[in-house]
């Protein structure tokens, strides 16, 4: 089977890579954590401002590949305004999507824009890139202090 690069690098991913949303620090963040992928040396800092169980602001900074950068960008855009419970549910759905079998048919509709990462399943080496921001997000909400690592 021949493969087209757009199956991995969908337009949304390329767009968020080039123009990452919420690419900044949050000075009064209630949660801040670093995510690290030792395999490629990528690091990202995730910031959240949570008030009364609602994620009022979300942002990130750092270096990474197009997959991890766009995943972080889409994460911040997705969770902003959601309750912590809603956001955790999205994390769980995203996790299931990324780690599901390539032939499985996940509920792409429920994932909204995040569905663009479905193609990553074809490239097991890149799954960690897509999931790192989400693991960092999840750990930050648990008030973990140590950097999250993919390894």
């Amino acid at each position: 089977m021949s493969f087209d690069f757009r199956e991995l690098y969908q337009e949304t991913i390329l767009d968020h890579n080039k123009n990452p949303r919420n690419y900044r620090a949050i000075p009064d963040a209630t949660h801040h954590l670093e995510g690290f992928n030792p395999l490629c040396g990528d690091r990202l800092h995730l910031y959240l401002r949570v008030e009364n169980g609602v994620i009022k602001d979300a942002s990130f900074e750092g270096q990474g590949c197009a997959i991890s950068k766009s995943s972080a960008s889409l994460l911040t855009a997705t969770v902003k305004g959601k309750t912590v419970e809603e956001a955790e549910r999205i994390f769980s759905r995203f996790h299931d999507l990324i780690t599901s079998d390539i032939n499985a048919e996940p509920d792409l509709k429920a994932l909204g824009k995040l569905a663009v990462f479905a193609g990553v399943r074809e490239f097991p080496a890149r799954i960690k890139c897509a999931i790192l921001p989400w693991h960092t997000f999840h750990a930050a909400l648990q008030d973990k202090k140590n950097a999250v690592s993919t390894e």
């Binding site: 690098y9 490629c40 040396g41 990528d42 690091r43 270096q63 490239f123 080496a125």
Partner: protein, 423 residues
């Protein structure tokens, strides 16, 4: 009759690489005929591991199909045959690197184990509190961590020979670091992430003037040109089978007899002993003293087959052809806007590392993968090299003699497309 006499003269007048029929050679490697994601495989990850010729694969199949037996212990036919084949492979290795004796050829699992063997055994015997171990700024983790472990255990200090922005060792600094406190110099022959060929012979000569032994990590050197350990005069030389067209799990440590005799064993077990009582064990002679347990017999024999294969082509021809290919690839990639080659030493072999403006190496790697082109992306087990250049990772295309200019063209073309997509 005259025709037969004439042929050698005509051939010797031709440039060497013209004798090199890469299309014919490619037929020896079954994997090179396969499709990846529907596209012909372009394998440019040879520094990670090389592909195997059919003769090596056949050797493994034949061994397990018809010759399998344990060595050095049986009186039965198969065991004697296997022992003979394994020891014959040792002789081939000895010839291949021009070692003086088979006793100095120790079979290991690979380069990493060879270096660990020396770091442990030499360290325990010859490195004391306050001593120094010198390694270079471009070492693979496998020539850093074993020495860190030894330094920690012995209370010794690890010092680093620095390099410049081209990825060449600064020899004046090396000279300055060669003090009486130094008890070992461990350097890489050819850098896996930069491609730099280090002046190993000179390094050995300088160290020996101060009676300091030198270990050379030859993992990336042995596949790319003839290595003569007597000419280099190094004390230890470690390399891997799988990077020189043999299977994984087998490697070689060459060591000078005087050192190997003086070092304690690395591991204890069967085969490395002459006699064992609960009170005392008499160790076996070299090289068996350093080969505890049943070794990778099939791997060793197949390493012999790989050496036969390489000798059939000729290491000089391989070196000349690969040099031509590396020059071609360097000039092609250099012409790509926004591409920067990392590692621009005057003398290079095997690998070209590069970074591309605004495109992460992982994206370059995945994009190439979709076109059936295999390269390595990441830190290449040389994180200090990445720190030195201030980058998290590079993309690395690494060559073998079965690669073609057309494959470099394909690489060139796809990298240019990557740039457009990420523009």
């Amino acid at each position: 009759m005259s025709l037969v006499v004439d042929i050698p003269r005509i051939i010797s007048d031709m440039p060497r690489t013209e004798l090199f029929d890469v299309d014919l050679i490619r037929k020896d490697f079954p994997i090179l005929g396969t499709l990846i994601r529907g596209k012909p495989l372009v394998y440019l990850d040879n520094s990670a591991t090389s592909q195997k010729p059919a003769s090596v694969i056949d050797t493994l199949t034949r061994y397990y199909g018809f010759e399998n037996s344990n060595i050095h212990r049986g009186v039965h036919y198969l065991s004697m045959q296997a022992t003979e084949a394994y020891e014959e492979a040792r002789s081939k290795v000895k010839e291949f690197i021009n070692a003086p004796s088979e006793k100095e050829i120790i079979f290991t699992r690979g380069t990493t184990e060879g270096i660990n063997l020396v770091a442990r055994s030499y360290g325990r015997h010859h490195i004391q509190y306050g001593d120094e171990i010198l390694i270079s700024a471009m070492e693979h983790h496998s020539n850093i961590v074993p020495w860190q472990l030894t330094a920690e255990e012995r209370g010794a200090v690890l010092k680093i020979i620095p390099m410049d922005e081209n990825g060449e060792l600064i020899m004046e600094e090396f000279e300055r670091l060669l003090t009486d406190r130094v008890k070992m110099v461990a350097v890489v022959h050819v850098s896996n992430s930069l491609g730099t060929v280090n002046p190993v012979k000179k390094i050995v000569r300088m160290a020996h003037e101060k009676n300091i032994p030198v270990l050379v990590d030859g993992a990336q050197a042995v596949p790319h040109g003839a290595v003569d350990v007597q000419d280099l005069d190094c004390d230890f030389y470690a390399f891997s089978g799988h990077k020189m067209y043999a299977p994984t799990g087998v490697g070689v440590l060459y060591g000078k007899t005087q050192w190997l005799e003086s070092l304690p064993p690395y591991q204890g077990g069967g085969d490395m002993i002459k006699s064992v009582t609960f009170e005392k064990t008499i160790y076996n002679d070299l090289p068996f003293k350093f080969e505890a347990g049943t070794p990778n017999i099939s791997g060793g024999i197949a390493l012999g087959a790989a050496i036969d294969y390489l000798n059939g082509i000729g290491m000089d021809k391989i070196k000349a052809y690969e040099h031509e290919l590396l020059t071609y690839a360097t000039s092609a990639l250099s012409a790509i806007p926004g591409l920067k080659i990392i590692g621009t030493a005057k003398e290079k072999a095997g690998a070209i590392s590069f970074v591309l403006d605004n495109v992460h190496p992982h994206d370059v790697g995945s994009f190439l993968d979709m076109e059936g082109i295999a390269i390595r992306t990441g830190h290449h087990c040389t994180q200090p090299v990445m720190h030195f250049f201030g980058i998290p990772a590079t993309s690395r295309a690494s060559l073998a003699f079965y690669n073609k200019k057309e494959e470099i063209d394909a690489l060139d073309c796809v990298i240019r497309r990557v740039r457009e997509v990420f523009e």
